[in-house]
Symmetry: C2
Subunit: 189 residues, 2 copies
Amino acid sequence: MTAALTKAQDQFIAVWGQMAGAWGISRTMAEVHALLFIVGEPMCTDEVMERLQISRGNASMSLRALLDWGIIERSHKRGDRKEYFSAEQDVWALFRAIVRERIAREVDPLLASLYEIRDMTPADRTRRGEAAEADRERIEAHNKRIDEMLEFFRVLEKLGHRFVSPSGRGLQLAAMLLGRLPEGAGEAR
Amino acid sequence: MTAALTKAQDQFIAVWGQMAGAWGISRTMAEVHALLFIVGEPMCTDEVMERLQISRGNASMSLRALLDWGIIERSHKRGDRKEYFSAEQDVWALFRAIVRERIAREVDPLLASLYEIRDMTPADRTRRGEAAEADRERIEAHNKRIDEMLEFFRVLEKLGHRFVSPSGRGLQLAAMLLGRLPEGAGEAR
DNA sequence: GGATGATTTCAAACTATTCTGAAACGACCG
DNA sequence: CGGTCGTTTCAGAATAGTTTGAAATCATCC
């Protein structure tokens, strides 16, 4: 193992750790993932502990969480009782897994809550008078805001599902498409 | 103000606060934004403090941070020295601002770091022997991983910029497009 | 310029999250 | 089975992040 390679790996692990917040996972979890990804071959718990200088408990929990996210997998070596872990090496597959999880953990519950909130303020068409009129306007404005938010997240969810979908090439395709579109395309409206 | 409306607003604020982690901001900051968004008209610091039961310092810092993110703006009322704040009401514009900031704060620095890391491991073509050969292979595999990561984030950045771009309709357009594409499209490859 | 009122700052208090390490558990072997 | 090796759990410790509140600063008015 060359020194330069080790240094580059450490750097990568540090950088990936910084990004932890962005994917909504803890720093260590991100570092463990970074390590498995950049090393590219299966490692056991002890090797991970050793390299990242973390406790056994922490390593175990982080590995477990990464398994739950579906971005690392278990494997075994013949004649060795230890479990080995390795990271998904296809970057697009990795991010598909992340998107899948984040939709399930964040977007879906948010959508459910927004629908509930929308149902809390039905437009009351029976009351009369100026005060009632003012209330009604406020409620309608409120409902419009909630509806627009709902619409946005519905689109986001749809987009996400497509990206994640079996064929799994949706957004990859879209990205390529967009990448080639001239800057002003779609302007006409 | 009807009771149902107030309850719906509070619920929205709570839900939005939960999402704070997802956008990479603090809970209170998200709540302040939610309040301004859902109320839909300018509020002053004291009104925000009162409604969310937070301290003056906290309100001030959160409002400032939201200004930095470009998702709320200052305004004034005639004959009133206080500053008032109001949230962007266009949901797509809101998320464009969020994407713009997150690219600048997260993706751009990450790309810079990845380029640096890439340069740490030039393939050494001078050394001879079996050991040198093994090192070279390892380094090449490593470089391939970094390159793929780089490529992914370059695409992501490009996509983000398009979404954020002046016309600002890029991803909105893409989403509509994708929304209409039949499930299996793009399969051939 | 001084008084008034609004805003910002920041050290200390508080809260939430993450990590550790040792004990409990589980699986495999002979 | 009992022993050994490996994994998981979880209460408490450590750390990181957030909030407060009061003092400092800034802006405006008279």
